[in-house]
Structure formats: structure tokens, C-alpha cells
Symmetry: C2
């Protein structure tokens, strides 16, 4: 069995990029805050060059805002933008799911079941970082065989944006239970190859999730 070997040894720049991306999505930085580069330098114990390269990448990715001669800022959280992101997620993930259901093979079915199962088990163990990781992975697995690299790329980007809002929202156990049930339902519909119904369900899933996330704004 050969290991995928990640991708060569990691460079400092890439390491700090991954860390910052996680931290930004998890809301470890105040929205709207100016990024104090030298503070980050200490906090993560890295040099200026790799740090600035990571910040540049994050700005191009949309998790930071870069202003010439004025450094970097964390984007504000605006109701208007959450609507935008959620609306696009519905369009794009719906589209991707339909295509995935057309194109996905038997191996995909297996991975889907596995991902859903792992997610449910992490749920029992208490919703934490592990659950978040597996949740992202589940949604990624759902749309993975859609056949479009660019669609997957955009979906991932929107997912990160969306999660900035969602992770700040207060717990909503009743809605959460519905959302969790929908995960299983999505798997069922995918296995049955019912693209139309799956798309509709995904649409509803994201919409409910959006309503939860809304509660986190200005809180």
C-alpha cells in the first residue's frame, strides 16, 4: 500500500497558509480587524517572507482583504454577503450533486456511506473540531465525482466563506437534528440515483443551515 505522500515536504509558507486558513474560517480573528503582521510573526513563530506569501494567497482566495500600502484586513461579516454565499452555494452544490449522481461509480457510493458513518460517529462523541473536519469531508465527497475541477474549487471556496458565519452562530439543536437527518437522506437519494430529489434536498439543507448562520451575525 503506497501512501499518497501528501505533496512533498511542506514549505513554511504552505504550513502557515493552512493554519491561517483554518483559523480564519474558525473565527479566531475578529471580523474587520487589521492583521498585525509582526504579531502573527511571533504568534506562529515564522519569518516575514513565508508569512507574507501566505497572506497574499489568502487574499487571492478571499479570506483576507489586501489594501496596497495598508496591509491586510479580515473581511467583515455582512448579512448581505452571507445571503450571497448561501445563494451561490445552493446553485453550485445543487448543480454539482446532480452531476455527481450521474457520474459517480460504485466506489463513490462506498466512500459516501463511509463518510456519512464517520460523521455520525463523531457526532456522538460531541461536536468538535473533528466533527467539523468530517462534515466538510462529507460534503466534499458528495460532489466529488461531478466532473468539474473548477466547480469543486468554487464550492470549496464558498464553503469556507459560509463556515466563517456558521461557526459563530449559537447552537440550534432542533435544526441541527434536521440537518443531520438530511445528511443520511442525501446519501439515500444519491444511492438511488435520484438527482432531482437530491438537488432539492441539498437546496433545503443549505437554506436551513443559512438560517442558523444568520443568527450569528452581529452577536
Amino acid at each position: 500500500m503506497e501512501l499518497p505522500e501528501r505533496q512533498g515536504r511542506m514549505t513554511t509558507s504552505s504550513r502557515i497558509y493552512d493554519i491561517l486558513r483554518q483559523d480564519l474560517v474558525n473565527g479566531r480573528f475578529e471580523a474587520g480587524e487589521k492583521v498585525a503582521i509582526s504579531a502573527l510573526r511571533e504568534r506562529y513563530d515564522v519569518g516575514l517572507s513565508p508569512l507574507r506569501e501566505a497572506l497574499n494567497r489568502l487574499a487571492a482566495y478571499g479570506l483576507l482583504i489586501q489594501e496596497n500600502q495598508r496591509g491586510f484586513r479580515v473581511p467583515r461579516l455582512e448579512r448581505r454577503e452571507l445571503e450571497d454565499v448561501a445563494s451561490l452555494r445552493r446553485e453550485l452544490e445543487g448543480m454539482a450533486l446532480e452531476r455527481a449522481i450521474l457520474l459517480g461509480d460504485a466506489e463513490w457510493e462506498s466512500e459516501l456511506l463511509a463518510a456519512a458513518h464517520r460523521l455520525k460517529r463523531a457526532d456522538m462523541a460531541g461536536r468538535g473540531e473533528e466533527w467539523e473536519r468530517l462534515h466538510v469531508r462529507f460534503h466534499r465527497t458528495l460532489v466529488a465525482p461531478c466532473g468539474s475541477i473548477w466547480l469543486l474549487r468554487f464550492i470549496e471556496q464558498l464553503h469556507d466563506q459560509f463556515d466563517r458565519y456558521r461557526r459563530l452562530a449559537p447552537e440550534a439543536p432542533e435544526v441541527r437534528r434536521v440537518l443531520d437527518a438530511q445528511h443520511d437522506e442525501l446519501v439515500r437519494l444519491a444511492l438511488e440515483r435520484d438527482g432531482g430529489a437530491a438537488r432539492q434536498l441539498m437546496d433545503d439543507h443549505i437554506h436551513r443551515s443559512y438560517e442558523v448562520a444568520l443568527c450569528g451575525i452581529k452577536a
Copy 2:
């Protein structure tokens, strides 16, 4: 009248980013080629730090591929990817155009007419860099009031990817005439607020353009 003032004085990093982006889209680099950083340093007469920052941004944007410890490469041109990009462009620009037609105001109508007119005039003067610039601008104006920042962002990104292919394709005057006529037709349908027909036409427009671009592959 106040000038928009671009955005503060440009930083070396941003300048070189803009230049490289143009050059990459225009095919001034061999597809698949490894980017020789020190060669670029001389060619554009810039320092290493701003250059690397620009390259990092371009990689995050999708116009370069970054491999840890192995620098940057220009992405290959693959039929498979052109299909992907074109197909997504049709979906997203169609969606954006429909929304723009719902939301666009009178000022938009004026700018649309102006953009179309400028484009036609540049056409007479011979299709060159200026025409390319105005063509991008026309398409951007069409979808501008769609109301979604992220949709516009993705569309621009796909446009850049698409143009990498299109600009390598040989001239196709007959198709070109049809495509030009479609520009005016798009304006007409937009002014008439016929979202459905406009979307359909945009779909056809991109598809024909795709067929032209196809001829440029492996040429």
C-alpha cells in the same frame, strides 16, 4: 468630479501581478513551462520578494500551479479543462445575466450601450489589445448588476482561464461575425428585459466561442 484614484499608489507586488496576469492570459508563456523566477526578475526588473508574492497570488487565482519546493509552473492547456471552463461559464454567466436583467437600472442600460459601441468601434480599428480589453469590459458590464459579488468573481476567473485558450486559436472570420452580431443582440434583449432569451443567447454565444477556442489546442 473626483477621480476614483485607482487604489492608492500601486505596490510593486500588485504591478507585477497585473502584468503577469495579462501576460499569462495572453499566452506569452509556454503552457506547461516551468517559471524561471530569476529570469522573470530580470525581465520585469523587480525584486524577488514582490515577484514571489505576485506568483503566490496568481497560483491561488489559478493562473499558475505551485508545487512545494519546486516553484511555479504554467498550467497545461487541456481539452478536458477547456470543456470544464466553458461549461461553467455558460452556467454562471447565464445565471448572472438573468439576474442582471432583473436588477439592472437605467444607468446600466446606458453603460451597456456605451460598452457595445466602444467594442464595435475598436473592431473597425482592427482587433488588437484594445479590442480584447473592451471585449472583457463588455461582458463584465453585461453581468455587473447581478447582485452577487462572488458570482462576478468566479465569472472573471473563468473568463481569464477561457481566454488563455481563445487567444491561441486561429482567426475564424465567419464565426467572429456571428459572435459580434450576438453582442448587439445581447444588448437588445437586455434592454427589452427578456432574461430567458438573453440567457439562451449567452449560452449559444459561449458555446460558439468555445468551438473556436477548441481549434487552438495542440496547435
